[in-house]
Assembly symmetry: C2
Homo-oligomer: 432 residues x 2
């Protein structure tokens, strides 16, 4: 693979020292970041196959979308502003019943195109027909963590789970490690104990992690307390599910102090999804308390039926704004904390935080360049503040994943958008 | 002025029938919209000097930013994540003390460039050195409502007010009506009764409206109750300020049922500014109740020190998301209501709703085209939903104000951004 030298970028490293380098050079060799120097201190003789003059641009580790259902782009704008139960029962589920594997493939590619354009270099997906999304990951070159959702209410739940375990083992690590697999029981309220126990066994057998919705709505937690005498987190702990590593628990909106203690102790990764939680009126996750307790918190967009985009810069902004308001304290969830959740936090939550989520020599070259020479990002008093409070997904110009350029100057390199639009439009004729 | 024919756009009219035309043509002649027809029904022989093929684009009335302090773009990212009082006293006010008229001119142009790029065709401004912002309005061709802020704590408050009254009379209606002037007493808590009474007189003498902050924080309202035995709204009513037309009351976060009744009865325009209210942790304005009571509600970004951009699509999204969450009801503040506040609602609140804020023959040609042929806006199940829940300011391609193209295919026609960046950078050397 080619080597690249990115010169004169403002670099938000997201490293442990929270360094922001006002002007620096980044050397990419193969899949990795091979060097990072303040401009002018780059060793003489440093060469690369390609150079990018990134003056006026900001380099950031690629955004990590820690919870989504990528192919739900097919349902973007299909049903909004509705109460939760009719929304699911009358609109979303009947549509999903009609989906086939190729629909999910093209819907996944549409979502991946959107994510690359918005600087997302890694996403964690839970959906039907996971093979289709796995193929889309490999065809696009994005880093993807993919799992096939299992719910007891599907008639073939047990067969699906066995198939999901097989797939997770078969596809694990494909694409030079770009593809990571997991198992995904939908949620405690949709999965009885025997199903969850088999998930734990399957994860142990294949050596993969688990992706699950946890305590998204108040009602779920109340039902769990009534039925099991435990919260969702308490029940998952008892079953042994939280001893798997990694576990990515999406939402965690309605968690108790004791749940927070357990989540921290078991090192469970949490995906905070403020856009979806607001749009579906689910509630506000206690992110300031989770962060203060030392929880591992990433962020996600959720699916495009409840967001309705896959824009992680928007999620970072929503987190910073929402928690200030709810705490009535403008110092809560700082810009740095918000962007940390959207990058290194997500990578840690997904069990890849030892190689993804920072701009650091030896780490995977998953990084993005944003064009800051625009009126809404001027003057550049504070680039971290601007990333969270002023920037937009469309400001991303160039995207590397695993050292490979997936977008350069807003041109996608691995995907043909017009072809994706045409396939999606054609498939929707049947689905609608 | 040239005539334009925009063909094959999806047109979100924002008219009284809430019509969305899937494919339509718009004829602009001079400053006005001269025709609107479903494509194919446009009369034979309809000609124009220029044509735009807007297939795949959405036409929307220009966004109306009903409350901002445009030149505060100079302070974007200069101080964030701080408690309100030190933020104002240690950072914002000392910076503002150093500003001169030319600083405000270039800061205003920077904000106007950002707003045009984001589809804002009209803004309502309150700041120091209003002549500078008025010049920036006329030089850029945007529609601007400009007033010079008056606060009692400035040593020359009374002289400033007299000067502001003079200016409002002198500049009123310049630029073929693009420039509207108002008076702007900062807020009830910063203006004693005699100052407010003189504002009312001045507004009557010059025939202009009033722009004022109202009940932004809980503390202001508590102080007003202690000092005057009345809420802000009650006090303004008593002074007779609410009998001026129009009055634009920004924020209205902490208003009582009785205040709401008064605001509706007096036909006061309200600017809802959710981004700023969240970032400064001020609270949540009771927008669902205000709308249900029949209040005239627009939206604004507030200044770039507390937002930190001038992005009205983001404000519309925040409004739709925030009120769903706070009401725990996903049907509250629909996509249509949100975009209505950001367009026609703002125009009505500012007293220009009889000619701005809808795409309608005979109305001012203030309209924008957004490029919907992008992954994050596909598939086009519902364009109004997409505008609010998925679109971004950067999706705006073309902007007309008063029939004049200010941006075509993302090229600004009246402003030189590089020149603005250079002037702002130079001035910041002195200010910092």
């Amino acid at each position: 693979m080619a080597s690249w030298l990115i010169e004169n970028a403002a670099v938000v490293t997201m490293d442990d020292e929270e360094r922001v380098l006002p002007e620096a050079d980044i050397l990419i060799q193969g899949a990795e970041i091979a060097g990072l120097w303040a401009s002018g201190e780059t060793p003489r003789g440093t060469t690369a196959d390609r150079r990018i003059d990134a003056k006026g641009m900001v380099a950031l580790p690629g955004l990590v979308n820690a919870h989504t259902h990528c192919a739900m782009t097919l349902l973007r704008g299909y049903a909004d502003d509705m109460p939760l139960v009719p929304w699911l029962q009358e609109r979303i589920w009947p549509f999903e019943m009609k989906l086939n594997e190729e629909d999910v493939y093209w819907g996944s590619l549409l979502g991946i195109a959107e994510m690359i354009r918005g600087g997302v270099t890694c996403f964690n997906d839970m959906y039907h027909y996971p093979e289709a999304t796995m193929r889309a990951v490999l065809d696009s070159g994005i880093r993807g963590i993919v799992s096939g959702v299992v719910l007891a209410l599907l008639p073939d739940a047990k067969d699906r789970l066995e198939r999901a375990i097989e797939l997770a083992g078969e596809w694990k690590g494909k694409g030079d490690g770009l593809l990571v697999t997991m198992l995904s029981p939908h949620a405690p309220w949709t999965c009885p104990n025997d199903l969850l126990e088999r998930v734990v066994e399957g994860a142990q057998e294949t050596g993969v992690g688990i992706h699950i919705h946890v305590s998204e709505t108040e009602e779920e937690v109340q039902n769990s307390l009534r039925q099991f005498g435990k919260t969702d987190v308490g029940r998952l702990e008892e079953i042994g599910l939280l001893d798997i590593s990694p576990v990515l628990a999406a939402h965690c909106v309605h968690v108790t102090d004791s749940d927070i203690h357990t989540l921290v102790e078991k090192r469970v990764g949490i995906s905070h999804n403020p856009g979806s939680n607001m749009k579906l009126a689910s509630g506000t996750a206690p992110i300031p308390r989770l962060l203060a307790a030392g929880a591992i918190v990433g962020m996600g967009t959720d699916g495009a039926a409840s967001n309705n985009n896959l824009d992680m810069i928007e999620e970072a902004r929503l987190a910073a704004l929402l928690h200030k308001l709810q705490a009535r304290d403008p110092t809560v969830v700082t810009a740095h904390q918000a962007i940390a959740m959207a990058t290194r936090g997500g990578a840690r939550a997904l069990g890849i935080g030892d190689r993804v989520g920072q701009i650091k020599p030896g780490w995977k070259a998953d990084l993005i360049l944003l064009d800051f020479r625009q009126p809404h990002l001027f003057p550049p008093h504070d680039v971290v503040s601007h990333l969270v409070y002023a920037a937009r997904a469309g400001d991303v110009r160039t995207v590397f994943v695993n050292g490979r350029p997936l977008m350069v100057d807003r041109e996608l390199r691995t995907l043909d958008e017009e072809k994706i639009f045409a396939h999606v439009a054609e498939r929707l004729k049947r689905l609608m």
